[in-house]
């Protein structure tokens, strides 16, 4: 790949026939790598960035959120490209300064992970097709659960339960059921912790599943505070569009690894 001429822009134009067929920025990136037979452990930043951007131009997006994810990747690539040291002469591999190197390593790692997921997905597709040729019984012919009599029921069990509940109540104050909305500091910690695993996230993902106004307000305050502290960057490509949150790439010395998932 190193002796590949970096000027592959025009060939990449031909690839746009699959526009819209990608599942996300990683899918597109992987496609570009596969088409160019690029080793996923040595990503040629310049080539891949140019091709990615060329593709992006030709794509049409259904919604802003989808576009946002692609744009974040574009920003990352452009950033990477800007970190290329001395303009490489044709014979040499590109070199990145330290920041960029860390980022590229991470990008490569995630790309490889995505490649594995995609392969597994394809394997599952095949299994699904095979299993679609097999039928089981349309339903159980066993007596339904509600017709199976319960064992060992007695009112004393209920009595004992109630006594225990009453005892508990007299011993302690009423318990909180709903947790209070998280504090701004908590939310800030959460955002930073997510950004340790990934370099960007969508504002909507901070509040998704919970549309309570207080949640949204707390999240927004947390984001604003983190921006003020210079810990994150945000982008909003359009009025009322999705806000993309990215971490500031001033990584404290050499902390590259993704926090372990568990």
């Amino acid at each position: 790949m190193s002796d590949e001429s970096p000027n592959t822009l025009d060939t990449s134009r031909d690839l746009t026939l699959r526009v819209g067929g990608f599942e996300g920025p990683f899918d597109l990136l992987l496609h570009l790598c596969r088409t160019n037979e690029i080793d996923l452990t040595r990503l040629p930043v310049r080539t891949i960035t140019d091709q990615y951007l060329a593709h992006l131009e030709a794509m049409e997006f259904r919604d802003l959120e989808a576009a946002g994810a692609y744009l974040v990747m574009a920003a990352t690539l452009i950033y990477l490209k800007s970190k290329l040291l001395v303009p490489p002469d044709e014979t040499q591999e590109e070199e990145l300064e330290e920041d960029g190197l860390t980022l590229r390593l991470e990008l490569e790692a995630r790309l490889r992970e995505y490649a594995r997921v995609k392969a597994l997905g394809e394997w599952l597709t095949q299994r699904e097709a095979e299993q679609s040729l097999v039928w089981g019984r349309p339903g159980s012919t066993l007596p339904p659960p509600e017709e199976v009599p319960l064992e060992d029921l007695s009112v004393h069990l209920l009595e004992r339960m109630l006594k225990r509940l009453i005892e508990e109540q007299t011993r302690q104050r009423p318990r909180e059921v709903e947790p209070n909305p998280p504090s701004v500091v908590e939310r800030m910690t959460m955002i930073l912790s997510v950004l340790r695993d990934t370099w960007s996230l969508l504002f909507s993902s901070l509040t998704s599943g919970d549309r309570r106004r207080s949640e949204i307000v707390v999240s927004l305050l947390a984001v604003l505070e983190l921006v003020r502290l210079g810990r994150i960057k945000t982008q909003q490509t359009e009025l009322f569009g999705e806000i993309v949150i990215e971490r500031q790439t001033t990584i404290p010395n050499g902390e590259t690894a993704r926090a372990d998932a568990n």
Binding site: W135, G136, R137, D152, S154, L157, L162, I166
Partner: protein
């Protein structure tokens, strides 16, 4: 593993009867197998039936409701009941009993109130009690979110050998159901005759 030969028409009928959830008419079999007439279809079923009678005491082919069905033989019924019993947990879990006790003694009571007493989310256990028909939805509480109200059922009385909820043992002290924010009324909430929430099989979803 050697490749099996192409399935015979009898094998196909076997699979059709197995996979069908309704009795299968001879005409339908004829159609699916592209047979000349219904007689051929019947002949295939008879052949299959003979095979099952000869080799299996577990399953049989019967003619019912204008069609054919594959069913278990009566002789194996006792084991099927044992399986059904083994599969459904025949006991209520402790959380389920706890929730049931609250409903029994404080009915009608809403899910948020049960949650408040127990200090944990009770969705799953209530779901379970509804499935078991030990509790049912009796209306909605006039409180924010209009939560469903639950009460015990007749099956509950039968299962616990009670004539009436008044037969529940008296317990010293009083279980306090924490006040929900802005509950419209104190004590017994008015049970709305909500047409949608009439039946016991309305599940809470989630």
């Amino acid at each position: 593993m050697g490749r099996l030969p192409v399935p015979t028409p009898t094998d196909v009928v076997e699979a059709l009867l197995f996979a069908s959830d309704v009795p299968l008419e001879a005409e339908r079999i004829r159609e699916v197998l592209d047979l000349g007439d219904v007689g051929e279809a019947r002949a295939l079923v008879d052949e299959l039936r003979a095979r099952y009678d000869a080799s299996s005491q577990g399953l049989q082919i019967v003619e019912v409701g204008g069609g054919y069905r594959m069913v278990t033989r009566p002789d194996v019924a006792p084991w099927l009941v044992r399986l059904a019993r083994a599969r459904t947990r025949a006991r209520l879990s402790r959380p389920a009993l706890e929730a049931l006790a609250i409903v029994a003694y404080k009915q009608p009571v809403s899910r948020p109130e049960i949650d408040a007493v127990r200090g944990v989310n009770s969705d799953a256990v209530i779901e379970n009690l509804l499935e078991r028909r030990l509790v049912r939805i009796t209306g909605r509480k006039e409180a924010p979110g209009r939560p469903y109200l639950f009460e015990t059922t007749r099956e509950f009385l039968v299962a616990f050998g009670l004539r009436d909820v008044a037969d529940l043992p008296k317990v010293e002290g009083e279980l306090i159901v924490p006040e929900l924010a802005a509950v419209a009324e104190h004590g017994q909430a008015e049970t709305q005759q909500d047409p949608g929430a009439g039946g016991a099989d309305v599940t809470t979803g989630g």
